[in-house]
């Protein structure tokens, strides 16, 4: 052993012709591959940049025709009429209809599902319910739109007189079904991350499961649950096909969930279905609305991330 290590290195190795050297020798190849891979990773940054540049660029042209004040404070949205009106408020209120409605339905049901999954269900129960949630999450948005139009709206019409053929209640219900799996599985994760000792401490002093759930687990998992709700809001804001089928295309300021509304995404779809020549104000309008949509969902995602980070700090 000792003799082997004191031998001088073979001459071929120094000259770069040693077989090992030859195999390892493509330093430029290694470096080239590394660079190509890095480029692929940087592409994602390019996509983000492109989104921001495209949305801001077209919006800038839009705002050279329309003032910020009219866009943000105006209460009438009629960009395709003569004279055009560009108050985005009806679209924002339309989107809020769907967000508030769907969250009011999906959050209690989703948190309830999560509590059952993490505290009451047997292994078999979990194994039955989890796939159901996965299937619900995997069904395309447009299928939910069909469901709203053909099943939910007719039921609403029978129950509430004065229900319009397109209405925000139907859209809210169907979006609630879509975000239910998200809320349920994220809350389930948050509840399961609460240390066992907390549960056992409570049971030891005689708490019932309800008391453990409501007084121990939910407060302990609050930041995880909050993050789930914020992500659900973000999803509901960006939801497009189901909402545009169910809620209609009438941009009006109204608080009545049985009337037709238009969301921001619904407007973008409506304009896209016509042939929009580039450079016209209506073409630029969808980018201004898109920019607002992007800003809203990005804010929600960042908030969810910040809340979630706090929650992870607690137990790790």
């Amino acid at each position: 052993m000792h003799r082997a290590t004191t031998l001088p290195p073979p001459a071929e190795a120094l000259a770069g012709t040693h077989p090992l050297r030859a195999r390892r020798g493509h330093a430029w190849g290694e470096e080239g591959i590394r660079r190509a891979l890095a480029l692929a990773a940087l592409l994602s940054v390019g996509i983000t940049t492109a989104i921001v540049v495209v949305l801001c660029g077209e919006s800038a042209r839009f705002f050279s025709h329309v003032s910020w004040r009219e866009f943000l404070i105006g209460t009438r949205w009629a960009p395709l009429f003569e004279p055009p009106r560009f108050g985005v408020l009806p679209l924002v209120v339309g989107t809020l209809h769907v967000v508030v409605g769907s969250c009011l339905l999906a959050v209690p049901v989703g948190v309830g599902t999560a509590l059952w999954l993490s505290e009451y269900a047997t292994e078999r129960g979990r194994a039955c319910v989890k796939p159901v949630l996965e299937v619900l999450a995997g069904i395309p948005s447009v299928v939910y739109g069909y469901f709203a139009v053909t099943a939910i709206t007719p039921v609403l019409k029978r129950v509430f007189t004065g229900t319009e053929p397109f209405n925000s209640a139907s859209a809210s219900i169907v979006v609630a079904v879509m975000i239910l799996p998200l809320v349920a599985s994220l809350c389930d994760d948050a509840l399961r991350a609460v240390p066992r000792s907390l549960r056992e401490g409570a049971y030891a002093v005689g708490a019932t499961r309800r008391e453990v759930c409501l007084q121990i687990l939910l407060p302990a998992a609050l930041s995880g649950v909050t993050a789930a709700v914020v992500l659900a809001i973000s999803r509901a804001i960006g939801e497009t096909m189901a909402v545009s089928l169910a809620a209609g295309n009438l941009a009006q300021l109204s608080l009545n969930p049985l009337r037709s509304i238009q969301t921001m995404t619904g407007f973008i779809v409506q304009v896209s279905q016509g042939d929009t020549p580039a450079g016209t104000v209506e073409y630029q309008t969808i980018f201004a609305v898109g920019l607002l949509l992007f800003a809203m969902t990005l804010t929600m995602n960042l908030v969810a991330d910040a809340v979630f980070r706090r929650f992870r700090e607690v137990y790790e």
Binding site: L37, V143, T265
Partner: protein
């Protein structure tokens, strides 16, 4: 927490607490059943309206303004073309990015920034990607409102999903495998190429299939770049107007004539069949991989 102890005193209180417990258990169970019931109602509705309209003629016919003659062929072909092209574009890029982030980048500030960026991209609404595709590919590069623009747009949409799934698969490969390769003199790329990638492949494939099944159901970005609702020919080139399954379903669902609801339901059955077979493929790959590779 002091509430818990206070509530524990007295027989009547105990009786009341037990009743509350029973009601609470029923409530959370009922909440769990809501999802299940919704799924059953949804599938029943689709089956009831769609099954009788599903036929060989429906699969091979062109769309029509007459619901009894409407077929889904151009949408089916358009979807297959688009998703195949999306996969060819997004999978190599996504896997390459994942390899870089897991195996080469280290823990620098740049890598962290790229990571945050990808996580945020995954949360951008699909319709925004459509607007990006409209401005970039349809208007900017003049690629037309065809399969190519559609596939490029969907590729941008699924790229973050593929990167996230591939990273998870690569991270699951035990580091002993890498150490063994490096110990016998493999370069970093040789380690990845011959050891890490083959071991991570089943996981990557599963993620890819799930990402592509998301792409096949996505309608919003395609509507924005201008995929048409009524196309009575098969695309001859990458730039021809085209349609896809979810777009066709969207237009049928929005038609005023009631019979079109049945046509839409039949279209949904076709879409769900495609999704189901893709997911079955993912399950098969996962199970075969689990049998082949054991880490412990």
């Amino acid at each position: 927490m002091s509430d818990v102890i206070l509530l524990g005193s007295g027989g009547v209180a105990l009786h009341r607490r037990r009743r509350a417990e029973r009601w609470f258990q029923r409530a959370v169970f009922a909440a769990t059943m809501v999802g299940l019931v919704m799924l059953v109602v949804l599938l029943t509705q689709i089956g009831r309206q769609g099954l009788t309209w599903l036929s060989a003629r429906f699969l091979t016919a062109m769309p029509s303004m007459n619901p009894h003659q409407a077929g889904i062929l151009p949408a089916l072909v358009g979807s297959v073309y688009t998703v195949t092209l999306t996969g060819l574009l997004a999978v190599p890029l996504g896997v390459a990015a994942a390899i870089y982030l897991e195996e080469f980048s280290g823990r620098g500030r740049l890598a962290r920034a790229v990571e945050v960026n990808i996580a945020n991209l995954a949360g951008v609404p699909a319709i925004i990607y459509g607007m990006l595709g409209l401005a970039l590919f349809v208007r900017g590069l003049q690629l037309g409102r065809g399969v190519l623009s559609g596939a490029l747009t969907l590729a941008l949409l699924v790229l973050p999903v593929i990167i996230l799934a591939s990273r998870e698969a690569i991270r699951a490969v035990p580091s002993s495998l890498r150490q063994a390769a490096v110990a016998v003199g493999a370069t970093p790329w040789q380690t990845v190429r011959h050891h890490v990638l083959p071991a991570a492949l089943p996981g990557i494939l599963t993620g890819v299939i799930l990402a592509l099944s998301r792409a096949i159901g996505e309608a919003a970005p395609l509507v924005v770049i201008g995929a048409a609702g009524y196309v009575s020919f098969l695309p001859n080139s990458l730039h021809d107007r085209f349609t896809a399954l979810p777009i066709q379903i969207f237009f049928w669902s929005g038609m005023p004539r009631r019979e079109f609801q049945n046509v839409a339901a039949a279209g949904i059955l076709v879409l769900l069949a495609v999704l189901l077979s893709m997911n079955a493929l993912a399950v098969v790959i996962r199970q075969r991989a689990a049998r082949k590779l054991r880490w412990s």
